[in-house]
């Protein structure tokens, strides 16, 4: 069952349905809930979850360390742009705000800043926690959509934890931050002038997807179907009662109860289609995230 087969599990019959899965980002929580609630088991899949760093969602998959992983929609596009053979086997969330009405991230500015519209960012310095990512492209696109010139915006990488000090010292004029830092900053007086550029730009595009290598997905199309069903059912459960995710955050993300309670996730959606990558494809190609548009058919398991 293992794409790379490096695990060397000789007991192939028993392990036929045991799949290891790298999760990352709070949006993975509904899937984890499904595991806890036995939904995957019901679909004949024994999904074993291991956390991975958000910056490393492809390596373990390619090297066969795990069977499944998660990735972001833009991350998938970047990988596909370099012909990395990874495909989405199921959707999890989109860039739209979820049940809580918040996407959990926003562009914030220091208290009393004169920035009120995206165009005001021209000539300013904006911090994002990762360059060449949805954050950077989102910011650029909202500026352009507002009639501005994105080349006049200087975008630098700033760790979330350093944003407050960077504001205080005047190093940056705005920053795109996520929870729990967003809430901390807003509590500390920072303001949100115009919402979340990422949400605005990417909207219904896939935010979090479950991934596998193409080779694996081709060879295990039945399992892929079962996975999609299990994810869909898990999502339904999470949508019914979002509070069920709180213990998941505490257990799998080691969050403190207050933090877990305040954590918001995006709109959940298990369906995934090649065309849902169109926006991502356009924006990334526009700003150099990928050299040229990708063939979106390549990113999704058949």
């Amino acid at each position: 069952a293992c794409g790379g087969g490096e695990d060397g599990d000789g007991d192939s019959a028993a392990a036929a349905n045991q799949l290891t899965w790298n999760y990352s980002l709070p949006d993975s929580a509904p899937v984890l809930l499904g595991i806890e609630e036995g939904i995957f088991e019901k679909h004949g899949i024994d999904l074993v979850a291991e956390e991975a760093a958000a910056t490393d969602l492809v390596g373990a998959l390619i090297s066969g360390k795990v069977d499944l992983s998660v990735n972001t929609g833009p991350g998938m596009a970047v990988a596909a742009g370099q012909n990395v053979p990874v495909v989405a086997v199921s959707g999890v969330s989109t860039f739209e705000a979820g049940a809580s009405g918040s996407s959990g991230s926003a562009l914030v500015v220091p208290k009393g800043s004169d920035i009120t519209t995206p165009k005001d960012l021209e000539g300013r310095k904006v911090g994002v926690n990762l360059l060449k990512s949805a954050s950077e492209f989102g910011v650029r696109q909202v500026v352009v959509d507002d009639g501005g010139d994105d080349k006049k915006v200087e975008i630098v990488e700033v760790p979330f934890a350093a944003v407050a000090d960077a504001f205080a010292s005047g190093d940056i004029d705005a920053a795109l931050v996520a929870d729990p830092f967003m809430t901390q900053l807003i509590d500390g007086g920072a303001e949100v002038p115009f919402g979340d550029p990422i949400e605005t730009v990417f909207a219904e595009s896939p935010r979090l997807v479950m991934t596998a290598t193409r080779e694996w997905a081709d060879a295990n199309s039945d399992t892929v179907d079962a996975l999609q069903d299990a994810v869909a059912e898990s999502i339904e459960l999470a949508d019914e009662d979002p509070d069920k995710l709180i213990p998941i955050f505490e257990k799998y993300f080691k969050m403190k109860p207050e933090v877990a309670k305040a954590t918001k996730i995006n709109k959940l959606q298990a369906d995934i289609s090649p065309s849902s990558f169109d926006t991502i494809n356009d924006v990334l190609a526009q700003y150099g995230g990928i050299a040229k548009p990708i063939d979106v058919e390549q990113v999704v398991a058949k």
Binding site: V78, V84, K132, V156
Partner: protein
């Protein structure tokens, strides 16, 4: 002339052999992590000769130079001072070791908070990285001076300046030089680390970006560039070393035994 050629051959055969092996072993590679060397070199030429020199390379090298100079000077001064004042050294050792043992990556937010996002914090980080190897070796080298040499210095009541420049530094020089050479390569490593945050240019930044976007050949080309920069810096320190340690080499060579000399 012939001796020069032989010397060159001695220096060059291993790298040439390694590169050749790499070239042929990777020629038909389809692994995304280990692209053919040919591809890497093509990218190298496109990227670094000399398109990105004024931006990424200049940015990184400036930080590196400033950080290295600051770090080494501080290490020499502090190392000699603490080598000469064992009591102070003893008092500060646990603190120093603790500071040294604390991963900078964990403190990045703090460093950004204290020194801002600009080049200052990068230079500070590089200086900090370059500091320790030279500092430790200097302290150890100064402390290891032959007790009899120390006695000579004491009885003849050498002035502080003479003691430091004529006795302690030359005595510790062999050990300081190891420290410097380690510092130089640590500095390059840390330079890359310093570009992990708050950057939009630099060789380290470029490498990280290449990795994130799976442009693996670009990443390799950047690593090769770093290796070359490191080698150049090492040549520089080797030159300094030859100058500083000429007595040392002469003494060694002067009494090389026949068999060893023939080897």
């Amino acid at each position: 002339m012939r001796r020069r050629l032989t010397a060159l051959a001695v220096e060059a055969w291993l790298p040439v052999a390694l590169v050749t092996t790499w070239w042929f072993a990777s020629a038909n590679s389809t692994s995304i992590y280990f692209p053919p060397l040919q591809t890497i070199l093509e990218r190298f030429q496109e990227l670094w000769l000399f398109e990105r020199v004024p931006t990424d390379v200049a940015f990184s090298l400036t930080n590196l130079g400033l950080g290295l100079v600051a770090g080494l000077l501080a290490a020499l001064a502090a190392g000699v001072a603490l080598g000469l004042m064992p009591r102070v050294n003893t008092a500060l050792t646990p603190l120093f070791e603790f500071m040294r043992a604390t991963p900078i990556v964990a403190l990045l937010p703090l460093i950004v908070a204290m020194f801002g996002l600009g080049v200052t914090s990068k230079v500070v980080i590089i200086a900090l990285g370059a500091f320790w190897p030279t500092f430790l070796n200097t302290v150890d080298g100064v402390r290891a001076v032959d007790p009899l040499v120390r006695d000579v210095a004491r009885t003849y009541r050498l002035s502080a300046a003479t003691l430091v420049t004529r006795v302690m530094l030359p005595n510790a020089a062999p050990q300081i030089m190891v420290g410097v050479r380690t510092s130089v390569s640590v500095a390059v490593v840390v330079m890359v680390g310093s570009e992990l945050f708050g950057s939009s240019e630099g060789i380290g930044y470029f490498i990280l970006q290449s990795q994130r976007s799976y442009a693996i050949a670009d990443m390799w080309s950047g690593l090769i560039l770093l290796g070359l920069i490191g080698y150049a810096l090492n040549l520089l320190s080797a030159g300094v070393e030859r100058l500083v340690l000429s007595w040392h080499e002469g003494r060694r060579a002067g009494s090389t035994t026949v068999a060893a000399g023939g080897a």
